[in-house]
């Protein structure tokens, strides 16, 4: 086979900066490297020496797409260390806040970033000329998610209202009422959006992942639950570092995660759905069935459907939480510092986000460990690419290139926790 190099210098529809190199030798995929080349951001080091009350403001800055996830893992880990138990209304408000982030993050990815792949458009701008209604729905969904974030978090991005022990201020029922009205409309739009994606052409592609997600006895997981896997893992967040390891690879500034002695695993919507489908309400399950989503989805190209199901669920759940909401007697539990280590894992839109903090007796952070979902999925993304490229060796360069980019976007990598440009390079020798 003639030597060939395929190069994509810029892929706009991912969050962050990275590059990809595919080496094809003698007709076989030889090496796949997803490189995150941004300088390390040192957030873990930045947290050292800071007071525990500063954690939420610092970690929110890690990402402009999923700052609530960082705040939720951070607040639960600090509260775990300090022995704080929040009351039910606070717990419900945090779940409601997370619903807002899931709605806006998923809506953005489904329609603006991922859908153009399936419909053959270079971007959402071109797609909007022919599928304006779908894009309008996404904008409206995103706005509703943002409205929730603004009301509960104080602003849309890098929220300022969450604090250790609860919130600085909690909303009244009257303040939530207009958001509930918007959510009813958003739920209808989410259903239409899911049905729209249900008609997309999906490549035949099956992978045998080990799914990892939170599992809670009573609810589809967001802020609480044990870490479980499709291969039988069942641990508390405190045991995360005994089961998972991070390793450095020479071509990336981001650490890769793997399960000890088992290797790559998948976190995110596909894993959550596979491991928690039984916690979805019947009407949401009916929609999943209507669009042909299997109980366990093994085709990452169909992850767009799972995200769509989760948007419907997040709207549904947010409405339930608002209906049941009774403002707490006080907005927060006053925290008292103590020397301890705290652990937490919550479900960011892209999967489990692990935080650990060691705090000294006066409340100073001594060290911190943060493992974002995209870092955990890097090995899976590389494995997917190997399979996609192997299956597509006969494709012309442009088609193969597009398929590889689509494959990356299947996992909605939030590399803005590390990146912004994605350069794809395929080498054939």
């Amino acid at each position: 086979m003639a030597n060939r190099t395929i190069r994509v210098d810029y892929i706009a529809r991912v969050e962050g900066e990275s590059s990809l190199e595919l080496s094809i030798r003698n007709g076989k995929v030889d090496a796949v490297r997803l490189s995150i080349f941004e300088p390390p951001r040192f957030f873990e080091a930045l947290l050292r020496g800071r007071g525990f009350v500063e954690v939420l403001d610092i970690v929110a800055r890690i990402c402009g797409i999923c700052p609530i996830a960082y705040q939720m893992s951070g607040v639960h880990a600090v509260e775990d260390a300090l022995g704080i138990e929040v009351n039910e209304p606070i717990r419900a408000l945090r779940r409601l806040l997370y619903c807002g982030e899931w709605i806006q993050s998923h809506a953005l990815h489904i329609v603006m970033l991922h859908a153009p792949d399936f419909l053959g458009y270079p971007d959402a701008i071109a797609m909007a000329r022919d599928h304006g209604e779908a894009v309008q729905r996404a904008l409206a969904l995103k706005k509703t998610g943002n409205d929730l974030l603004r009301l509960l978090g104080g602003r849309e991005i890098h929220a300022i209202n969450a604090r250790v022990g609860g919130f600085y201020r909690v909303p009244s029922r009257a303040e939530l009422a207009p958001v509930a009205e918007a959510l009813k409309h958003a739920r209808d739009q989410a259903i239409e959006s899911l049905r729209w994606t249900g008609g997309f052409p999906f490549p035949e592609f099956v992978r045998d992942y080990e799914f990892v997600a939170l599992r809670h006895p009573d609810e589809y997981p967001m802020n609480a639950g044990r870490i479980v896997s499709s291969a039988g893992l069942d641990i508390a967040a405190a045991d995360y570092e005994t089961e998972f390891i991070e390793r450095q690879v020479p071509y990336s500034t981001a650490l890769h995660s793997e399960l000890k002695e088992r290797g790559a695993y998948l976190v995110g919507p596909m894993a959550r759905y596979a491991l928690n489908r039984d916690h979805l309400p019947p009407e949401v399950l009916a929609l999943a069935n209507e669009v042909g989503l299997e109980p366990v989805c093994h085709n990452p190209f169909r992850s767009i459907l799972v995200r769509g199901v989760e948007v419907v669920y997040a709207c549904h759940e947010a409405l339930r939480l608002i209906t049941d909401y009774e403002p707490p007697s006080r907005p927060f539990v006053p925290p008292e510092p103590r020397a301890a280590i705290g652990y937490a894992c919550t479900e960011a839109p892209r999967g489990i986000l692990y935080h650990r903090y060691r705090i000294d007796a006066d409340g100073t952070i001594l060290d911190a460990s943060l493992v974002p979902p995209t870092a955990q999925n890097q090995d899976i993304i590389e494995e997917d690419l190997r399979e996609v490229a192997t299956a597509g060796l006969a494709l012309d360069e442009e088609t193969l290139k597009a398929r590889c980019e689509q494959s990356i976007r299947n996992h909605d990598p939030c590399i803005s926790c590390a990146a912004h440009f994605l350069k794809l390079q395929v080498r054939r020798t």
Binding site: V14, G64, L113, A124, A128, Q136, L139, K143, N146, H420
Partner: protein, 166 residues
Amino acid sequence: MTGDQQPLALVIGIGNRDRGDDAFGPAVAHRLMGRVPSTVRILEHSGDVLALIEDWDGIPSVIVIDAMAPISKPGQVHRFDLTESPLPIGFAPSSSHALGVAETVELARSLGRLPQCLLAYLVEGEQFETGVPLSPVIAAAVADVAERVLAELSTILETDGRAQHA
């Protein structure tokens, strides 16, 4: 203008106040506060630029102020009328998110959700470091752009007034 009345014009200063010259847009917006008629809304925008489409919904005239990467001389101010045509290549401000200002404007154009009049003032920045103030040359452009925006608003409102009385 009462709280529920739709403004006739909107001025949006885009940028992050904590990232050096990226604070240019918010600095101009801040300077305009209290100096515009009650029919004009001033907005600072620091993050999700896709929300611009919702922000300007129903408002006939919009002026966007932003900083851009230097291409000729830091402090140079460029004015564009985006009502009929996109930002020229090379002038599109970069964004740390998937969709930047230029893409958002074009998305709105595709959807038929552009304002009737959309102007952009872009200043070439010098540095975008975290936690540092505006560069002197960029800070010097704040007052100039604010005055130019006030003149634009005067023209826009006068034209709108004539249209309403026609």
